[in-house]
């Protein structure tokens, strides 16, 4: 088809058939569309992962429940963990990065648009492969279905002897494939941030969101590679007679743990740094002040990136490392709390003396601050090795990391949704539904995850499909399950808000929040190739300069 015909077709908006639209979206290399594809893809998997969580919570509602069999339960928590980390949080954050980074640095697209599309479709393939295991996982032995080895797939549980059939293979290949997608996107973000900034935008003037995504992408390169290597080694073990992790032939189980967690811990920060990025954009706008201590925020992020590569074995304090190794990983883990604390203080500093507007994005960010504080402190408790010997592998640690991922990352993400949805669609999300969403989710969250710490302290280990009727365990688990139900309702409100506002939301205009970064200088949704004229900036807040010519930031730059 000649390009002329294409041009005419895309110009003729009203006359496009749905296949034409679909074709456009599937073949797109536009960073905004790919960003939205990432986000929609993640939302679908969020619902799937949520259903898995619901099955888990129904089963654990009372002791010795038999809602599902142990086999099904084990698949549910394996799939829930894998889905939420690799096919919800990673893609949704990549989606926002994809959408926002070029807009915020005044670029017309990512550095490598086709690599961008390729990376997205690899990630998508990974997710579909993982879920294909439900129908294709039986394999030659008729054993297995979806993977049931836990999302860490510890050796030797994932070896042929203990995981016959192909379910673990689907898990391995899904992560390998989506890992390549992540690496592609990371390279793309790094290249974009380093090479595509508009005139005047020095690194020291970049919005923090771009900075933090740059650091995150660097960490992806460091963290995903060992994971991919380990997946390949596992495949070699399973199909080519290797013995890396095959303990029956002298392989090493701790080797897999090291490989997995040298990915797994930076991964936590890979997920949380983009959440920090959202806060660093949203809090200043709704406090009507610039971010407090910009250079320190950048330095703290880089410090987190560096230190987080040497904390991984704090997941392994119970495997019998010697006391020196345990001590080393204790101090590195506590040290990573320092830059994180600095960040929290800087956000408080940003709000201090401002005039805080409690719009829905800001509400979610404030929720983040309180919850991330608690998550960080329970993290410090677990960095205290002896205390961790009791806490780890129990429901306490489950509550802790859900506090990080739900109370922290997901809250920041919801904030980002409410903040940038107007830019992406041209319509505002409903404030009323947004407040319902926020309060319901907040109540559900605290009911679930505050209470969930307690059974862990009372000796309830994680990953058990049912439990003995010990005093206290039953009622606590019931409360946790009720909280999960409230969260599910809140998510429904959110999805309804997304859909209703798309059709009926108030028109957003270019700059509904009176914000200061470049994406708000152009129409909502932004036109193809973003900027008709490539902008030139003279400070960190180009739109502030424009709105306040008598006192521009550039004067102090």
């Amino acid at each position: 088809m000649s390009s002329d015909v294409m041009a005419i077709q895309s110009a003729d908006v009203a006359g496009r058939s749905w296949t034409g639209v679909l074709h456009e979206w599937v073949t797109t290399v536009d960073h905004k569309r790919l960003g939205i594809l990432y986000i929609l893809y993640a939302l679908i998997f969020l619902v799937i992962g949520g259903i898995e969580a619901a099955v888990i919570r129904i089963q654990l509602m009372r002791p010795n429940n038999d809602f599902v069999s142990p086999q099904v339960f084990n698949r549910m928590f394996t799939m829930h963990g894998t889905t939420m980390i690799f096919f919800v949080t990673m893609p949704v954050l990549f989606g926002f990065a994809n959408y926002l980074v070029p807009l915020m640095i005044g670029a017309r697209d990512m550095a490598f648009p086709r690599l961008n599309a390729f990376s997205f479709w690899l990630t998508a393939l990974g997710g579909f492969l993982l879920y294909f295991s439900f129908v294709g996982g039986s394999g030659l032995y008729g054993a297995g279905n979806a993977p049931d080895v836990g999302w860490w797939a510890y050796a030797p549980l994932a070896s042929r002897a203990f995981s016959p059939g192909h379910s673990s293979d689907y898990w391995t290949i899904a992560l390998l494939v989506s890992g390549f997608g992540s690496i592609g996107t990371a390279i793309n973000i790094i290249a974009t941030v380093l090479c595509m900034r508009c005139p005047g935008m020095k690194l020291s003037r970049m919005p923090l969101l771009a900075w933090l995504n740059l650091v995150m992408s660097g960490m992806v390169l460091i963290a995903i590679t060992p994971l991919s290597a380990a997946q390949i080694m596992l495949l070699v073990d399973r199909y080519l007679g290797g013995h890396f992790f095959d303990t029956q032939a002298g392989g090493s189980a701790p080797l897999w743990m090291h490989f997995f967690w040298i990915f797994g811990h930076p991964e936590v920060y890979i997920l949380v740094i983009p959440a920090f990025a959202f806060l660093s954009e949203i809090i200043p706008v709704f406090s009507r002040k610039p971010i407090f201590g910009y250079p320190v925020m950048v330095a703290a992020t880089v410090a987190i990136g560096l230190v987080s590569t040497s904390v991984w074995a704090h997941h392994m304090f119970t495997i019998g490392m010697n006391s020196y190794a345990n001590g080393f990983f204790a101090i590195t883990t506590m040290a990573v709390g320092i830059p994180t604390g600095i960040k929290i203080f800087n956000w408080i500093g940003t709000m201090w003396g401002g005039k805080i507007q409690f719009k829905v994005p800001m509400l979610f960010c404030i929720g983040f601050l309180f919850q991330f504080l608690i998550a960080g402190l329970t993290g410090i408790m677990q960095a205290a090795v002896p205390f961790d010997w009791q806490l780890t592998l129990s429901y306490f640690v489950v509550a802790h990391f859900h506090y990080v991922i739900v109370g922290g990352i997901l809250f920041a993400l919801f904030g980002a949704f409410y903040y940038w949805y107007p830019k992406m669609t041209g319509r505002m999300l409903s404030e009323r539904l947004g407040k319902w969403h926020f309060w319901l989710f907040l109540i559900g969250f605290h009911l679930t995850f505050d209470v969930m710490h307690v059974p862990g302290l009372l000796g309830m280990p994680r990953r058990i499909y049912t439990y003995e009727p010990r005093p206290g365990w039953g009622i606590l688990n019931l409360i946790v399950s009720i909280g999960a139900l409230i969260q599910a309702i809140a998510i429904l409100v959110f999805v309804a808000n997304l859909i209703i506002s798309y059709f009926k939301g108030a028109k957003a205009g270019n700059d509904p929040w009176d914000a200061w970064t470049l994406e708000w200088s152009i129409s909502s949704p932004p036109p193809a190739y973003n900027f008709a004229t490539v902008p030139t900036v003279a400070s960190r807040r180009p739109l502030w300069d424009l709105k306040h010519p008598e006192d521009p930031d550039s004067r102090y730059d």
Binding site: P70, Y154, F162, I342, K355, W389, D511, H548
Partner: protein, 408 residues
């Protein structure tokens, strides 16, 4: 300079378009630090009565206060629930709470946890208060709605303060941590210690006392340790298949059992009684029903238990039929009974089966009916366990159960 000249050329065309948009961003209004949009909004509000504004502020106050109290109530509730649950009766330990230790390692961890909780609690209070104060104090009000606040970019002194204070806290915490790690992990083994080799299996525990010549399963017996004459128990932890983790919260923190690796841990219970726990590292389908029962005996009870366990199995000829079933079916592939030709090690040693109060790693009580069901259809008790359904005739099954009943 080139840079200063191009200061304000940000997407000029688009901004000038938006000047005429319904949102009406008019650049004239910058004199009083206000954007056109806000002016418009304020204008609309000024049209309404002032009471609506104050009402709105009040409700906001309420909302914030309600939220804070809500969070606090939930936290307090959780703590209270924990407190109630921790209230154990003496001698009986139905709740394996980590804050109810009965052995030195668990006790050291509890002391240490108090220290850590105090520090983290203080940090929480300070930061929580600061955050709450900031949010309540610096809200937008009618008084300041029409102008931007002072634009502050940072302060090196403050940044330095909130970098150095956390560093000091981390150093203090680390020193405390290092001390307890050393005390628990590097404790020397006294000559009077009881040595136990614990081997994790899918999904049960094998215990061997090499110095005492005792082999048993699932229910561990250890002597109580008198501080004046300590008889701690030192474990060598092994695994026959996948990773497991030994966790009896009231006695010690958890330590993993990993194939191809020897791990160590120790306990010295101060009190007799039954202590509960379970496998903490996901090990496969029946991870949930890999329960731990530790009986802490008085020295006399322990000595008597050891004597009984060292006896060969009961060879009462009354139950020869049942023994014949055991010795001629697949039972003996996996199970050992001392004095018979059954020497399997894949399943628990049954020589003194009746000395245990549970079967299936604590999943069921050790009664004739449960035993019969367990042999006939293990999935009814523990679905996914590696014990096969034996498919015996009713007569054989009854004889076998009667035989097992004699293995005291």
């Amino acid at each position: 300079m080139l840079r200063s000249r191009c200061t304000l050329r940000v997407a000029t065309r688009r901004i000038s378009n938006s000047r005429n948009s319904p949102n009406g961003r008019t650049r004239r209004d910058f004199g009083n630090f206000q954007t056109g949009q806000q002016l418009e909004r304020n204008g609309a509000k000024r049209g309404k009565t002032k009471t609506t504004m104050t009402n709105r502020r009040k409700t906001e106050w309420k909302v914030v206060a309600a939220r804070v109290t809500g969070v606090l109530v939930i936290l307090v509730g959780a703590l209270l629930a924990a407190r109630i649950c921790v209230a154990n009766q003496p001698g009986d330990h139905p709740i394996p709470s980590i804050f109810d230790p009965r052995s030195t390692p668990a006790d050291m961890i509890k002391q240490h946890s108090h220290f850590v909780l105090t520090i983290t609690g203080l940090i929480f209070l300070v930061v929580f208060t600061l955050l709450a104060y900031t949010i309540l104090k610096f809200r937008q009000t009618t008084a300041n709605a029409d102008r931007e606040p002072a634009q502050v970019y940072g302060s090196n002194q403050i940044e330095l303060a909130w970098t150095i204070i956390p560093i000091l806290i981390v150093v203090v915490l680390f020193l405390a941590v290092a001390r307890v790690i050393h005390a628990v992990q590097d404790a020397p083994e006294p000559a009077t210690a009881v040595e136990v080799t614990a081997i994790g299996h899918q999904f049960w525990w094998e215990y061997r006392y090499p110095a005492l010549g005792v082999v048993t399963a699932n229910e561990l017996h250890v002597p109580v340790s008198d501080p004046t004459h300590p008889t701690p128990t030192f474990f060598k932890l092994l695994s026959a298949d996948t990773d497991h983790s030994f966790w009896v919260p009231q006695l010690a923190g958890k330590t993993d059992l990993i194939p191809n690796r020897v791990n160590q841990m120790w306990i010295d219970p101060h009190e007799t009684g039954l202590f509960l726990g379970q496998c903490a590292q996901y090990c496969g389908t029946q991870h949930a029903k890999m329960l731990l029962r530790v009986y802490v005996d008085s020295p006399e009870e322990f000595a008597a238990w050891v004597r009984a366990q060292r006896q060969p199995a009961n060879q009462d000829e009354k139950e020869a039929a049942g023994r014949h079933v055991f010795q001629t079916t697949a039972c003996l592939n996996c199970h050992a009974v001392g004095g018979t030709n059954g020497t399997g090690r894949f399943g628990p040693d049954l020589t003194h089966l009746m000395s245990r109060s549970t079967i299936a790693a604590g999943a069921a009580e050790n009664t004739p009916e449960r035993l019969r069901l367990w042999i006939q259809n293990p999935d009814a008790i523990k679905p996914g366990s590696l014990m096969p359904a034996m498919k015996l005739s009713d007569a054989d099954l009854d004889a076998l159960v009667r035989y097992l009943e004699t293995l005291r």
